[in-house]
């Protein structure tokens, strides 16, 4: 599934016509939308294919451990660990597993991977191919935070949520930005729904193309939103490096708690994370 041919097949369709994009000497899938501001990022910077079983590559991935403040600011219910039970690479996928178990005062365990201090980048194309969990209370996310967050607290540092999902809404994902004056309930974003498919039964590609003064959100080959400074009620804070996060939260104000029909364990499978500039 990770051949160049495959990659070409899933290439977003809005690569500009006439702007010949040559990847691995392959072909052109052309189509255009001249109204969109588009830059092409075709130089692979990071290709995390998750092909080596065991813990994820420590040169790229670190961990957030524990429960954070107030459930990582969202009243989330899980305790994040770096145990292989909660995070491992197996059979070509990163596997993040949410378990229902009493652990250090929490009812659930799961994992949150973070590239802070290991990988950061301003602009580019950031995408992951993932199969999501399902059921009330499951909240997986593939997202980014401004690298200056330690000195410029949230939401000032900015947040780009490439993909968020509610397990009780298995056909819909959301892409969102948070910043000063537009965070939490006032964040700016859009949802995207599949008409004849779901995000928990097959792999889909979630990504952004992010350049100066725009962020494009896409799922598979569909561009479903573009955010520019004109869309924001506050300052545009997306002209600096961001780092990546990949996590599976359980419960919290965004998604609500699991109920007695939620099946555990639940897994977030990540086939790859690829970053271009």
């Amino acid at each position: 599934m990770k051949t160049n041919t495959q990659f070409m097949n899933i290439r977003p369709r809005w690569f500009g016509k006439g702007k010949l994009v040559l990847i691995a000497g392959a072909m052109l899938l052309g189509c255009s939308d001249y109204t969109q501001k588009v830059t092409n990022f075709n130089q692979l910077v990071l290709a995390e294919e998750f092909d080596t079983n065991g813990p994820p590559n420590p040169a790229i991935w670190g961990y957030d451990i524990g429960r954070g403040q107030n459930g990582w600011g969202n009243n989330e219910l899980q305790f994040y660990t770096d145990r292989s039970k909660n995070v491992t690479v197996k059979d070509g996928n990163l596997v993040i597993t949410a378990e229902k178990e009493s652990f250090n005062g929490a009812e659930y365990t799961s994992a949150r991977l973070i590239t802070k201090g290991k990988f950061q980048q301003a602009y580019g194309r950031f995408e992951a191919r993932m199969r999501l969990p399902w059921g009330q209370g499951m909240w997986p996310a593939f997202w980014m935070l401004g690298s200056d967050i330690d000195t410029n607290p949230w939401p000032g540092a900015g947040e780009i949520d490439i993909m968020e999902f509610r397990g009780q809404n298995p056909t819909t994902v959301l892409g969102t930005v948070h910043g000063p004056g537009y965070s939490g309930g006032q964040s700016i974003g859009k949802s995207y729904s599949l008409k004849n498919g779901r995000f928990d039964t097959e792999f889909h590609i979630f990504g952004v193309e992010w350049g100066p003064k725009y962020i494009n959100f896409y799922v598979d080959n569909v561009l479903y939103n573009q955010i520019t400074p004109a869309n924001l009620p506050g300052e545009w804070v997306f002209d600096k490096p961001f780092f990546l996060l990949l996590n599976l939260a359980v419960g919290g104000s965004f998604v609500g708690s699991p109920n007695n029909e939620t099946v555990f364990p639940q897994t977030l499978l990540v086939d790859y994370v690829r970053i271009y500039k």
Partner: protein, 476 residues
């Protein structure tokens, strides 16, 4: 062959096979490779009956409950209207019908039966589904207790395993009775099979997902119940339907002890343990039945007394009086579990486990045994006999007020100790009622106790597992 069209399809498919096989082998096609292709028309009722569809109401139902309604409809020019009768409606006690297409259809390309529905009031439709054609109903699929209200709402009944539905005749069926005695009307529109692509996460169950253990015997035929398939719908809702046994593949861990036929009936063949599990379309079903077969079951001697001389509490040889329970689970001191759990080809046996004391009650109404002279009981101790083992049988009469308490209750005990006990064989006792010292009332008998723990045993149980059968009062 049903018609020319079918022939044509078969011909095309055969041609395909021939072309494929030319390059690979020389063998000729036998008749067995002929694939029966049935129409895959998804429509059941859109604005009228789809081709081949028929209406056949159930016997005893309101035969004209179904009509075509051109006024109330969700879309198009008409909807199906169902008038559920009031209680005691002379035209029928309930509404219910099947809508078959006896030509058969191939539904394997779909994953759900969907429709829009509304009603004149909030109600719960007892059964609604497909797979009923008044025939084998091999793939009967039922959504039980479907909530309906007064606004048009879309409903989804998932197909438990579409790959099995290549020749299905039962397109739709329903059965619904009055709500709190009152009839009402509901409508169904845009009834069709669909390939939604969003019906996912199958989780089949047998025995409603429980892990059950059952004592059984050679010749017993317990039926697997609680067969369901659950899917997660795009709304996030989990939808569970009752699925016929033929959807499942059953497995026995020990086929020499027990097997399962395709109707979901377990056949106990030998002595030992066998765990029955199942799969549906490759997904392991939650729940199992472990059969603990004790081998040949030896029933107690069949009672031979004339029914006219007997008042029976628990016996398959007589008509029993109404019994409230065989185990009252009296809190907080009673430990005894079990009740009338063993069924040997229709002959029921009471099995108590963890016995310390237990009561069978028959107080609605109480029973007048004043004309009777004896109590008969058959029991069997299912364990090695302890040296201090005893069984005390206690009779309780509720007195003139025919209710527990009130100062008029009387009771008496009869204790049987080790010289007269044995293990793993039936003990039949005929005890004169006069032997139950203290039992002065006979007109309002209501309780039979079995007790294996008292002060003499330090309130420790002396018999744990006990079978009981043929409890009856009689006169000579």
């Amino acid at each position: 062959m049903k018609n020319m069209r079918t022939n044509k399809v078969v011909f095309t498919i055969l041609t395909g096979f021939i072309i494929i096989s030319i390059s690979s082998c020389e063998r000729k096609l036998s008749d067995e490779v002929k694939l029966a292709n049935y129409p895959n028309n998804p429509a059941v009722y859109i604005d009228g009956f789809s081709g081949g569809l028929q209406y056949l109401p159930f016997g005893g139902s309101k035969l004209d409950a179904f009509t075509v309604d051109t006024q109330n409809r969700y879309a198009g020019s008409s909807a199906m209207r169902f008038d559920v009768p009031n209680v005691n409606d002379p035209t029928g006690a309930y509404a219910g019908a099947i809508f078959p297409d006896f030509g058969g259809r191939d539904l394997s390309g779909y994953d759900a039966l969907t429709f829009w529905a509304k009603a004149t009031q909030s109600a719960t439709i007892n059964e609604i589904g497909f797979g009923n054609s008044f025939g084998e109903n091999k793939f009967l699929t039922t959504l039980n207790n479907m909530r309906i209200n007064t606004t048009w709402t879309k409903y989804t009944i998932p197909l438990p395993d579409p790959s099995r539905l290549t020749f299905e005749k039962g397109m739709f069926w329903y059965a619904e009775g009055p709500e709190n005695g009152n009839g009402y009307t509901f409508w169904i529109d845009e009834l069709k099979f669909e390939k939604l692509g969003t019906v996912a996460q199958p989780r089949p169950s047998i025995l409603n997902g429980e892990e059950k253990v059952e004592t059984s015997f050679i010749g017993a035929n317990p039926t697997l119940t609680g067969l369901t398939q659950t899917f997660n719908l795009p709304t996030g809702q989990n939808q569970t339907v009752t699925a016929a046994p033929a959807y499942f593949t059953f497995n026995s861990s020990n086929p020499g002890v027990a097997r399962v036929n395709d109707q979901g009936v377990v056949i106990v063949l030998g002595t030992g343990n066998a765990k029955i599990t199942a799969e549906l379309n490759g997904v392991k079903a939650k729940g199992s039945l472990t059969i603990q077969s004790l081998g040949q079951f030896i029933l107690p001697p069949r009672p031979a007394r004339l029914p006219a001389n007997v008042i029976s509490i628990f016996s398959d040889a007589y008509t029993n009086v109404p019994v409230d329970f065989y185990n009252g689970f009296f809190a907080p001191f009673q430990t005894t579990l079990g009740g009338a759990d063993i069924n040997v080809n229709g002959d029921r046996i009471i099995q108590y486990t963890n016995l310390n004391f237990v009561a069978t009650e028959f107080k609605n109404p109480t029973v007048n045994v004043s004309q009777m002279t004896h109590l008969h009981v058959d029991f069997q101790i299912r364990e090695t006999l302890k040296p201090n083992a005893f069984i005390t049988i206690q009779l309780g009469d509720f007195g003139a007020n025919a209710a527990f308490g009130g100062g008029d209750d009387t009771s008496g005990q009869f204790k049987i100790t080790t010289p007269n006990l044995s293990s793993n064989q039936w003990i039949s006792r005929d005890i004169p009622l006069s032997s139950f010292t203290g039992l002065t009332g006979r007109n309002n008998m209501a309780q039979i106790f079995f007790i294996s723990s008292d002060a003499s045993s330090g309130n420790q149980s002396t018999v744990s597992t006990l079978w009981v059968d043929n409890m009856y009062f009689y006169k000579n």
